[in-house]
Amino acid sequence: MPNRLSISECIKLLDNREIKVTELVNAYLREIENRDEEINAFITVTKDEALEKAEELDRKGKRISPLSGIPGGIKDNICTKNINTTCASKMLKDFVPKYSATVYERLLDNDFVMLGKLNMDEFAIGGGGEYSYFKPVKNPYNISHMAGGSSSGSAASVAAFECAFSLGTDTGGSILKPSSYCGVVGMKPTFGTVSRYGVVGFAPSLEQTGPITRTVLDNAIVLSKIAGHDEKDPCSIKRDLDFLQDIDKGLKGLKIAVPKELMDMDVIQRDVRKCYEKSFEIFKELGCQVDVVSMPSLQYSLSAYYAISSSESASTLARYDGIRYGHRTEEYSNIEELYEKTRGEGFGIDVKKRILFGTFLLVEKEKNYLDKARKARTILMNEYERLFKEYSIVLTPASPITAPAFGEKQSNALEKYYEDIFTTPINLCGIPALSMPVCKDSNGLPVGIILSARHYDEKTLYRFGHAFEAARGILK
C-alpha cells in the first residue's frame, strides 16, 4: 500500500524508480474513493488533473524536487486558479478563483500532485470541523468523533491516508488542534514565514499557513518548499529557511519549560494529563531538563484572542456582501436588504456569531476591550521572550480534551472555547509551534502535545519533534 508510506520513504522509491508516480497517485485516489464518503475530508477531488499530472511526471522521468510526484491536498480557503475555492461556505460555494495563492504556486513549482480541496470549518472559524456548509468532517480514528478544526479535512485526510501531506491555515489553533485530534503532525510556522497571498483569511494579524503530515521529517520537507519571502504579502518576512539543519542533533542538555498555570487547570481530562506527563518522561530520557515555570499572563490569552480575532473578522468578512462575488439573495427591494439578506443566508451560525461579537467590540467605546486585549498581547509576548532566553521550547498539551463526539459537545460557548486555551497564545505571539501525537486515550483517540519556540526557530521544534518521534514511534 504505497499510500501508507511517509513522504521520505516515497522519495527514496521514486528516486530509485521502484515506484511510478501514477501508482502512488492511484493508491491515494483509491483510498479517497473507498473512505472519504464517511470521513468527508474532501470538498473537491481533482482526480483527472491528478492522473494527468502523474502521467506527465512519469513521462518526464526527472524529479526536480523532493516533492515531485508527492500527492497532497489543499485547504479550501487557499485560492487555486480554475478550481473551486469555497471556504466551506454557502457564500462562496461556486467561487472559482482567477489566480492562485503563492503557497499553492510554490507547490506546483515543485511538481507536487494536487489531489483536491479539503473540507474545513466555514471561513476557518470553528474548532471542531462540524461547521462546514457541505458536511462535517469525521475523525478517522472514530467516525462518531470530530476531527477538530478549522483545518479538519487537512488533518483527517492525512490521518486516513487520503493524502501524503496537506496544507492548513492556523488563526487560533486551526492546524495544531485538528492535528492532535487526528494523531498527525502539524506545524504553525512563525508569522510571516509562508505567504498568505491568495489565502482567504478572517483575522490577518494572527493567521499563518502550514503543513500537516504523518511524520516530523515529512513536515520539515514540506515547510522547506512552501516558506519564503513573497512581495505580494505585506507581512511576509525574509529569513533563514533551512528547517532540516538540526533535525538529527539530539536533545542532550536542552531545557523545556512547562507552564505551571496550564498544568493546574482543572479542565484537562485525566487521559490527556497522563499522556502529557508521559511526554516529560520521554524528553527526560532523551537528555532534556524539564522545568515547571510560571507564566501568569497566559490567563489573558483566550479573551485577548477572541477580542482581537472577532474584531478583525467583523472587518475582514464585510467584503461578502452579494455585490462583487459569491452568494446573492434572490429577493430584495433595496441595497440594505440585499446586504442583510445575502449575509444572513450566506453565512453559517458560527461565522455570524463571530462577526456580531466583533461588531460589538468595535463599537463598544466605554471599556475599550480591544485596546486592552492588544495590551495583554504585548504582555504575553514579553513573557514568552523572557522564557525563551533560558528555555528552548515550551511544552503544553494540544487540547484539554481528546476529540469530542458529535452531539456531545460542550454545553456553552465558554466550554467550547476553552479547548483553545493552549493554542491561542501561540497565534497572539506569532511564534512557531509543532503539534504531534503522544499516545491514545482509553477510547483509542489520539492525544497530542504542542511544542512552541522563539520566532524563526522551527528547526529547534523539528529537532525536538524528530527525537521524540524516534523514541516513541509513530502513532498507529
Binding site: S205, G344, T359
Partner: protein
C-alpha cells in the same frame, strides 16, 4: 471522563448560568443594533443562540482587565508590514470600457 472533571464541569455550568442571567438583558438590547451594524439578518432561532453566546463572550472579556497595562503599548501585528504596490491591470473588460473608464453593470435598481 473522571468524576472530578464532571464535578468541575457541572460547577462551571452553574456559574455560567448565573453569569448569563446577569448580563443577558444588556445583550438582548444590543443584538438588533448589532445585526444592523453588521448587515446580517438573523432568524429568530439564530438570534436566541447568539444572544446566549454573546453573554458568555462578554464575561470572558473582563480577563485582560486584571492585568496591569499601564505603560504597555498594544500590539496590533507581530511582524513588520510592508506596503504592497501593484500595477492596476484590467483584464477581460474590453466590452465595458467607455472613454477610458469601466462601466460597472448596474446591480440594484
Amino acid at each position: 471522563m473522571d468524576a472530578l472533571f464532571l464535578i468541575n464541569f457541572a460547577l462551571k455550568h452553574i456559574y455560567d448560568i448565573f453569569l448569563t442571567t446577569k448580563v443577558l438583558e444588556v445583550i438582548i438590547l444590543d443584538i438588533t443594533n448589532l445585526e444592523k451594524l453588521a448587515k446580517i439578518r438573523l432568524t429568530e432561532e439564530e438570534r436566541k443562540e447568539i444572544e446566549k453566546d454573546l453573554a458568555y463572550f462578554t464575561t470572558m472579556l473582563e480577563d485582560p482587565f486584571k492585568a496591569d497595562t499601564s505603560n504597555v503599548q498594544g500590539t496590533t501585528i507581530v511582524s513588520h508590514t510592508e506596503n504592497v504596490y501593484r500595477d492596476d491591470l484590467v483584464e477581460d473588460f474590453e466590452d465595458l470600457l467607455f472613454d477610458g473608464e469601466i462601466i460597472v453593470p448596474r446591480i440594484v435598481e
